[in-house]
């Protein structure tokens, strides 16, 4: 097990090293093949590790690699923790990464920085695996910032475009604000438990005072809002769509952005200690889900709709964490990874066929031109909308049932968001694939063409997963579910009376009704027209003016303060004070004027003379 876990982690890094060292000699095909193969191999080994873990009674394996930092009472190793949670994460991370690597080999064909793209992508997978496999918070932080920096590079991949460069920077900075939270959480935990090892912290979590626990949970929440694009730090994600579409699918939909949820789930024993903290988490999640869904209803750019949809779906996951439904959060994370990666890759295929066009106003009627992308997208659309028996129905249902048992208000927000979700996804679907063909106005597009096989195969695989993904956690399959597999990791889960079977059926009907309402409404509004300003609120289209608010309250004042410091405080105040002191000394010692000749040779001489005077003085004093 130890060797397998280490190999799972190191294979993507090996790919990076191979491509880095031989890159210039390798052809495009070879680079793509190596980069994809290492990740695929990593996935195969993860499956092996998963099977081995299933057959163990003690499902908590620590793999020590080396001592990383050791000072005084502070000890942190580079070590892995293989348990049901981390292996579940590894399974879908490596699996989806492998598919998206394959997809990218065709999507990025002919790019100037093809090699660099795959270097970043392999490094990303490595960092992501460090994040989920680490056995301590500090090492998780290595992966956490590692994926952040890969995201920075990949978002600003087309660095000659100013918007891409700014988007990369914005993503990194928003994440850094979140990282501050993770740092503070680590300070607190080390101060009160003297360790950063997960198992060590969990062991002592019960000894944390309510205040410390709540502070820690809030700090962790701040970290999660940065990485997972939740309120108040959610608005970097739509900008991050500047990156190539496979990147949006892999990093900004399926894997990295769910890391915040993973962190919270991983820290569940600490979350358990703070009911207040968890309630805050639940509300942040629910409100984000709702706000992002409203924004998604009014976007024209196909990738922006999907980006806000991701923010909204992660909101559901955070809501699940807040109500203590940790396994439901992971279930939704996995299901979402399937259908959202599918939707992004599908949109990539659409964009690819339209020479890079992303405006839905210029699409329409694409169904007959894209015989594989269309049905794949159809599956993704139904899955995210919550139509049974697709994966999204079960996963979202699981979250909403748990929310219902915990707090009716949270549940209500969740259901309204579900209506909006079905609405905006149907709108996107209709505008893209149905209606009249508006793409003829795009330059250079005569007849959209289906993408080559490396792009369609991942679409087919993900479609199958989005259809049947729900089976991993069916509510009636006791004992063989994801929840059953994961729950031991969370220790004691807060006891909430499970809903009766009758109530469960009732809630499921409400979910279906919500999906159908949203779906029908969108069909009614968008079937015949692509221009419908009445249903595209300016407020929503401008992201509730969130960016403008931050710019006015934080960005501009800080810029002005920086400029003021450089222009006035530095030269006039601080340096001025020093100058004044110097002048004061000079004036008060008029007789010494001659020395102020400004020639350092004289100062140097004075130094030596002064030194000599001291020597003489000392000699005189001693003898």
């Amino acid at each position: 097990m130890a060797h397998i876990a280490t190999l799972i982690l190191l294979l993507p890094l090996l790919g990076y090293v191979l491509v880095f060292a031989n890159g210039r000699a390798l052809k495009e095909r070879a680079i793509g093949a190596v980069a994809t193969a290492v990740v695929a191999l990593s996935f195969v080994l993860t499956v092996v590790a998963f099977i081995l873990l299933l057959h163990r009674t003690n499902r908590e394996v620590t793999v020590h690699l080396f001592n990383w930092i050791s000072v005084g009472s502070f000890h942190v190793s580079a070590a892995l923790l293989v348990d049901p949670l981390s292996i579940t994460m590894c399974l879908f991370v490596t699996g989806i990464s492998a598919l998206i690597h394959l997809y990218s080999t065709a999507y990025m064909h002919g790019e100037r920085d093809y090699r660099k793209f795959f270097l970043y992508l392999n490094l990303f997978v490595f960092s992501m695996l460090v994040l989920v496999l680490a056995n301590n918070l500090l090492m998780t932080f290595v992966g956490w910032e590692g994926v952040g920096v890969c995201s920075y590079w990949l978002v600003s991949f087309y660095f000659e475009r100013d918007s891409a460069a700014s988007a990369g920077k914005k993503a990194f900075l928003y994440n850094r604000v979140g990282d501050f939270g993770l740092l503070v959480a680590m300070f607190l935990l080390f101060h009160y438990t003297h360790t950063l090892n997960y198992l060590g912290v969990f062991h002592l979590a019960g000894t944390l005072s309510p205040t410390v626990a709540t502070l820690t949970v809030l700090a962790l929440l701040l970290a999660a809002t940065g990485k997972s694009a939740q309120i108040p730090l959610f608005n970097w994600l739509p900008d991050a769509m500047e990156g190539p579409t496979p990147v949006s699918a892999l990093i900004h939909a399926a894997t990295m952005v769910t890391a915040g949820v993973y962190l919270l789930v991983r820290m569940s024993p600490v979350l358990t200690m703070s009911p207040d903290g968890r309630l805050t988490i639940a509300f942040i999640g629910a409100i984000t889900a709702f706000v992002a869904a409203t924004i998604a209803t009014s976007q024209r750019d196909i990738k922006k709709v999907l980006a806000f949809s991701t923010v909204s779906q992660i909101g559901y996951m955070v809501l699940a964490v807040g109500v203590g439904a940790y396994s439901a959060a992971i279930f939704l994370m996995v299901a979402h990874a399937f259908y959202k990666a599918l939707l992004f890759l599908g949109s990539g295929s659409v964009i690819h066929s339209l020479n890079g066009e992303q405006d839905m106003g210029k699409m329409g009627g694409l169904a007959k031109y894209l015989p594989i992308t269309f049905p794949a997208f159809l599956v993704g659309w139904l899955a995210i909308s919550g139509i049974p028996p697709f994966a999204g129905f079960f996963a979202k249902g699981d979250v909403l049932t748990n929310a219902f048992e915990h707090n009716k208000l949270l549940w209500a927000i969740g259901v309204i968001t579900a209506i909006l979700t079905a609405y905006y996804m149907t709108r996107l679907f209709v505008l893209t694939f149905r209606g009249n063909e508006r793409f003829h106005e795009i330059e250079g597009v005569h007849e959209p063409h289906e993408s080559p096989w490396p792009m369609t195969v991942p679409l087919i695989v993900l479609s199958v997963l989005a259809i049947v993904g729900g089976v991993i956690d069916l509510p009636w399959a006791h004992g063989a579910t994801l929840a059953h597999f994961l729950n031991p990791v969370f220790g004691f889960v807060p006891a909430v009376a499970p809903a009766s079977t009758g109530a469960q059926w009732g809630l499921a009907l409400v979910d279906v009704a919500a999906a159908v309402i949203g779906l029908l409404a969108a069909f009614a509004i968008w079937r015949d027209t692509s221009e419908n300003p009445r249903f595209e609120s300016k407020f929503f289209a401008h992201v509730w003016y969130w960016d403008d608010f931050y710019d006015a309250t934080i960005g501009k004042p800080l810029t002005r303060a920086a400029q003021f410091s450089d222009d006035v405080v530095e030269p006039k105040i601080i340096d001025g004070a020093v100058g004044a002191v110097a002048v004061g000394i000079r004036d008060s010692a008029e007789g010494l004027r001659k020395i102020q000749s400004g020639f350092v040779r004289q100062y140097a001489l004075a130094m030596v003379l002064g030194f000599a005077v001291i020597v003489v003085y000392l000699l005189a004093r001693v003898h």
């Binding site: 920096v149 000659e160 100013d162 604000v177 300070f187 607190l188 110097a582 140097a604 000699l619 001693v622």
Partner: protein, 499 residues
């Protein structure tokens, strides 16, 4: 214990090198090669010392490579050297900075005297780091000013004369306080023990002085070191000096000489005046935190790359000061590690800025755009250095910064938490600068610059290697630093403030 001959050779070899370089000045190529050979030997020997260093001695409160010879009993002058975990990596850094500056930042005009000054500076700096005698430290500490001054004044930019003068007067005034403090302490010691005048560190460290005297002496010492580091608000000489100095000078000043300040603060101000610490800690910690935030703020607005690194250094020195004053072994160890890491990182920054300046004749941010297009390798190297500087985990800067913050949080939670905001700020000014200089579309002269040459890449190899290795495997370094820091911190806080 190892023989002190190693240290003797380390101090004398650059002097000999300087002499030969000057004697061969008719053929400057020879002078240059003499300097390079000296620097290589010096670096090799410094590494040998670091490998041989026995960290078990620290537990007994002694140094390695020690010896003491009294030169003049009546004057209290002595040649007293030794190395412990705190000074060990400063010795390595001194040799490394010389090596890299010689290879990466050549000055073709009057090269013999340029390398001569560099060698002289190396000798003096090294001697101050290994001085185990306070007066001896002071003498070499002052001597470093002379070569620094001439390097700036002779090979600097347009404003070099003003910059050199400002640098000299500023630091020289600071050290006036230090000299008075040292002499006073020596006399008090002599008065109380009734023996010979001595400035031996181990003797002075045990001088019983009153609380009030302790506070005044701490202030006198701290001012000199605050100027040198620089600690806010004593920093205003540094941006103009770093900007006007030639690349080699900027490297020496920021990567190395600044560390004399933080080293002095830890070894002498903290080490000799434990009684003053309870009063002084909150003040210096506050200055450190202001330095971190203020330095970062100004770095956002500053118009050129050299000043940017200067203000970034103000922030970084703030972190170092924080760790030193934290009263925690973890924090202070992090600070000593950051002294080394920051040296390596700034060296990388100034080298690359030097390469850019050579190509474009400017290091003003507004003159540079889209350099990543024509110079991808240079951009990648800059990125590595930048990421280390903003504390990306897995690279060297992070380990030290995290230790400082977690240590400080344990003893002074608010200062630690607020200082952590500096982590966000560092990303802000660095990424913004990167975007303006390397991103975007290069046109005109910018589009035509050549990428980093093979030689330039090789010069940066040690920098990048140290950034990567010390990020992942800092253990050999930390194992050598920690015991000495532990002894010092426990000496000044016997009640065990530290955890």
């Amino acid at each position: 214990m190892h023989s002190s001959i190693y240290l003797g050779v380390l101090i004398v070899m650059p002097l000999v090198g300087a002499l030969v370089a000057i004697l061969t000045r008719k053929q400057e190529n020879i002078s240059y090669y003499v300097a390079v050979v000296t620097a290589t030997l010096e670096l090799a020997l410094a590494i040998v010392v670091a490998v041989l260093y026995n960290n078990h001695l620290a537990g007994d409160g002694t140094y390695d490579f020690m010896s003491r010879h009294v030169l003049s009993a009546p004057l209290g002058l002595a040649y007293d050297v030794g190395v412990d975990g705190i000074s060990l990596f400063m010795v390595v850094l001194t040799a490394l900075v010389l090596f890299v500056a010689l290879l990466g930042a050549r000055e073709r005009r009057r090269e013999a005297s340029f390398v001569g000054w560099l060698l002289l500076l190396t000798s003096f700096t090294l001697a101050s780091f290994v001085s185990h005698d306070v007066l001896e430290f002071f003498i070499f500490f002052e001597f470093t000013l002379v070569p620094s001054y001439f390097i700036i004044a002779n090979w600097g930019g347009a404003q070099r004369a003003r910059a050199a003068l400002k640098f000299f007067i500023y630091t020289f005034s600071g050290s006036a306080f230090l000299l008075v403090g040292i002499l006073y302490l020596g006399f008090v010691h002599q008065h109380q023990t009734g023996g010979a005048l001595t400035f031996a560190y181990s003797a002075l460290a045990n001088t019983p002085i009153s609380h009030g005297v302790s506070v005044w002496l701490f202030i006198a010492f701290a001012i000199a070191f605050a100027v040198k580091s620089p600690i806010w608000p004593f920093h205003t000489w540094s941006p103009v000096t770093y900007a006007e100095a030639p690349t080699g000078g900027s490297i020496e000043l920021s990567a190395l000489l600044a560390k004399l300040g933080s080293y002095g603060l830890l070894r002498f101000a903290v080490g000799l005046f434990p009684l003053a610490l309870p009063d002084m800690r909150p003040i210096v910690l506050t200055l450190a935190v202001i330095g971190i935030l203020y330095g970062s703020l100004v770095a956002c607005a500053t118009p050129d790359l050299k000043r940017l690194v200067a203000y970034s250094s103000v922030a970084q020195m703030g972190f170092i000061t924080l760790g030193i004053m934290s009263g925690s072994v973890i924090g202070a160890t992090g600070a000593v590690l950051l002294m080394f890491n920051h040296g390596v990182i700034t060296m990388g920054f100034f080298l690359i800025i030097g390469f850019i300046e050579q190509r474009r004749g400017s290091y003003q941010i507004k003159d540079l755009t889209g350099l990543q297009g024509p110079a991808p390798v240079m951009a990648a190297l800059f990125t590595v250095v930048m990421m280390a500087s903003l504390g990306l985990p897995g690279l060297s800067g992070f380990v030290s910064e995290f230790l400082i913050l977690v240590g400080t949080f344990g003893t002074h939670a608010w200062w630690g938490a607020i200082a952590a905001i500096g982590v966000i700020a560092a990303a802000a000014y660095l990424l913004w600068a990167y975007q303006r200089v390397f991103h975007g579309k290069a046109t005109g002269v910018n589009a035509a610059i050549p990428d980093a040459s093979t030689k330039e890449r090789w010069v940066l190899v040690p920098v990048v290697a140290l950034i990567l290795v010390l990020g992942v495997f800092p253990k050999p370094v930390l194992d050598r630093i920690t015991p000495s820091v532990d002894v010092l911190i426990h000496h000044v806080a016997p009640t065990g403030v530290s955890k």
